[in-house]
């Protein structure tokens, strides 16, 4: 079918201005497709990074034992022991599992933690806080504490504590000052403030505190094990699959972040659906444009089609000539639109450098290959109707025109 390709190419080059306009129209459609993909994808990434970027993507917590029940010989429940308000279950074999989890593909950081509640006292001032014990060296494994520090250091040694700017202001604390932390287990410790962070998240800045894992063991009377293991992934969209994998590997109750983020996922899905609609409209525009242009070309070239048929060109050959034209238009328009889209997205800051007030475009999410492929397929589909019309041309009538 090389010859059909030659004729298709000749037809396209014979009407340069018409072909250029057609390719430009397709390119604009592809440009919109790519721009929308980059915008919707970038927006989703931005929302996700701002909402769940600093949280654990997969969390393993110790399973609470079922409440103890006293049952009489005749089957009646006589007594139920109410579950305590504070977490008592522990992951005793955390030290064994952490290296194992670190080998799971996609896992970038693992943070064994002891968490609980407590009261922070500075003079007469008291604040209720959450306390998280982190392993030294893994302070920024989940929440990027290093990046949020405004004073001091995120390094957590024995007897050190770091807390948020709001809490520090509320208690009028400065670096190096000592304060008393009493845990929900009733254990108190005098700690030195070694760092103050500001995440921008009101809850974290006002009520979260971080201590070393050894300090937390003392505070919560937990000589071994941890209460939870937080895991960060390279791609948070793989959390569900990775959680399943970790569950299968360790037998622990690994929960992906998506389990508690149904509303966020719904919002993102709705946003993605909007993107699909807009991209579909762009594709439909391309298909209609190509189909109408080729129909016009079919009509204009009826006498030539008649001559070709008279000279022994079969219907299949004629169909191939017009479908090839559609494919070539789709390919040229697709490539031009993709290049145009890429160039237009270049000035936008990358995902990591996104500034407030600009569009959160992600040049890597332009779906260039998909846009070109769909455009070529769409253009081929669009050319089938004109091609079939061309193949049905009656040579006798056409030659007589």
């Amino acid at each position: 079918m090389l010859y059909a390709l030659k004729i298709a190419t000749r037809y396209l080059t014979a009407s340069k201005s018409q072909t250029s306009l057609l390719v430009l129209g397709v390119a604009v459609g592809v440009f919109i497709f790519i721009f929308m993909s980059a915008l919707i994808g970038g927006l989703a990434e931005f929302i996700l990074s701002r909402t769940v970027g600093d949280i654990s993507h997969v969390t393993i917590t110790a399973e609470e034992r079922d409440p103890a029940i006293l049952i009489s010989p005749d089957g009646q429940i006589l007594a139920v022991v109410e579950r305590g308000r504070s977490r008592t279950a522990t992951l005793a074999e955390a030290a064994t599992f952490v290296p194992l989890i670190e080998t799971v593909p996609g896992v970038v950081a693992v943070s064994p933690q002891i968490s609980g509640a407590g009261f922070l006292t500075r003079g007469a001032q008291v604040a209720q806080v959450s306390v998280t014990g982190l392993e030294p060296g893994r302070e920024s494994a989940i929440l990027n504490l290093d990046g949020y520090m405004i004073q001091g250091s995120a390094r957590l040694g024995t007897g050190l504590i770091i807390l948020g700017e709001t809490l520090a202001d509320d208690l009028s604390l400065r670096l190096g000052q000592t304060l008393r932390l009493q845990s929900s287990s009733g254990v108190s410790a005098v700690l030195t403030l070694s760092g103050i962070y500001k995440t921008g998240n009101g809850m974290i800045d006002a009520s979260s505190t971080y201590v070393g894992l050894s300090t937390a063991r003392t505070l919560f009377a937990l000589p071994q094990g941890v209460t939870r293991i937080e895991i960060k992934l390279a791609d948070l969209n793989t959390a569900d699959a990775t959680a399943l994998r970790i569950r299968a590997l360790t037998g622990l109750d690994a929960v992906p972040w998506t389990d508690g983020a149904a509303q966020l996922m719904e919002a993102l899905n709705a946003q993605a659906q909007t993107g699909y609609f807009l991209k579909s409209f762009a594709l439909i525009t391309i298909v209609i444009g190509v189909a109408s242009a080729l129909l016009l070309s079919t009509y204009r070239r009826r006498p030539e089609i008649g001559i070709m048929r008279a000279m022994g060109a079969g219907r299949g050959f004629v169909i191939f000539v017009f479908v090839t034209q559609g494919a070539l238009i789709g390919l040229m328009g697709g490539l031009s639109g993709a290049a145009l889209g890429y160039l237009a997205l270049l000035p936008f800051p990358s995902r990591d450098d996104f500034q407030v007030g600009t569009l959160p475009m992600d040049i890597m999410q332009g779906s260039y290959g998909l846009a070109i492929t769909l455009t070529v397929i769409g253009a081929i589909l669009a050319s089938i109707l004109p091609a079939r019309a061309a193949a049905r041309v009656d040579p006798v009538t056409a030659i007589g025109q």
């Binding site: 037809y11 014979a14 030539e304 001559i307 008279a310 022994g312 079969g314 219907r315 040579p395 006798v396």
Partner: protein
């Protein structure tokens, strides 16, 4: 001589009911291989319809048509297309070249469409035919830039490209001046004489008809002479 083609009791009607028009009314005709025949008759006598049917571009309403032993009434579109490509050449009144192609590309079209590409051998034969038509200097000219006479000579070359047994020419000189018309007819006569290609030439021109060894007169849908 052997019969190249034979049509018998050919009937062709257009339209239905009261609008039905019977153009061919039981026409019978035999053409021998190597003949050069003129098809004469007034407008509306059925000449063009007969040429169209003989060219396998249209099927008769009834009657039989065999060429080279093939029943061309029963053949399907694909078979007719292939047959037409291999065995029948066309020369139209208005040359009907492909305007976006050069003279050579137009000439090699019938072979290229069959082979799926322009083979070197096809291009060589195309050049030879164009040279024979006196168009060696116009081989790579866009066909749109050629004069009327040159275009018609390219059309003759194209019709001969696949060495067909039969060339059907519908008023091949009808749109040409006297000099060009004579050139084209001389070429046709030369090819008929040298290669034995059968020509059936529809014409109103008595002088053109006089150059042919046989005159077939069609009137009211039948052969009258």
């Amino acid at each position: 001589m052997t019969a190249l083609l034979e049509v018998s009791e050919l009937v062709k009607t257009f339209g239905t009911g009261e609008a039905e028009t019977r153009v061919l009314r039981g026409l019978s005709l035999t053409l021998e291989a190597g003949e050069m025949a003129a098809l004469l008759g007034p407008s509306g006598s059925g000449k063009s319809t007969l040429l169209t049917i003989l060219g396998t571009l249209m099927k008769p309403t009834s009657g039989s048509y065999t060429m080279l032993g093939r029943d061309l009434v029963a053949a399907d579109d694909r078979a007719l297309t292939e047959f037409r490509n291999r065995h029948i050449g066309f020369v139209f009144q208005f040359h009907n070249l492909l305007p976006d192609f050069t003279a050579l590309e137009n000439v090699v079209f019938p072979t290229a469409v069959r082979m799926g590409r322009e083979t070197p051998a096809a291009r060589q034969r195309g050049r030879e035919l164009l040279s024979r038509m006196g168009l060696e200097a116009r081989i790579d000219f866009p066909s749109a830039n050629l004069s009327g006479g040159q275009k018609q000579r390219v059309a003759v070359a194209r019709a001969l490209m696949n060495r067909p047994e039969l060339v059907l020419a519908d008023e091949p000189t009808g749109n040409l001046d006297r000099v060009s018309a004579t050139q084209v007819m001389d070429l046709i006569a030369e090819i008929n004489r040298d290669e034995g290609t059968t020509f059936l030439i529809s014409t109103h021109d008595e002088k053109i008809a006089g150059l042919c060894r046989r005159q077939i007169v069609v009137g009211d849908g039948v052969v009258t002479g």
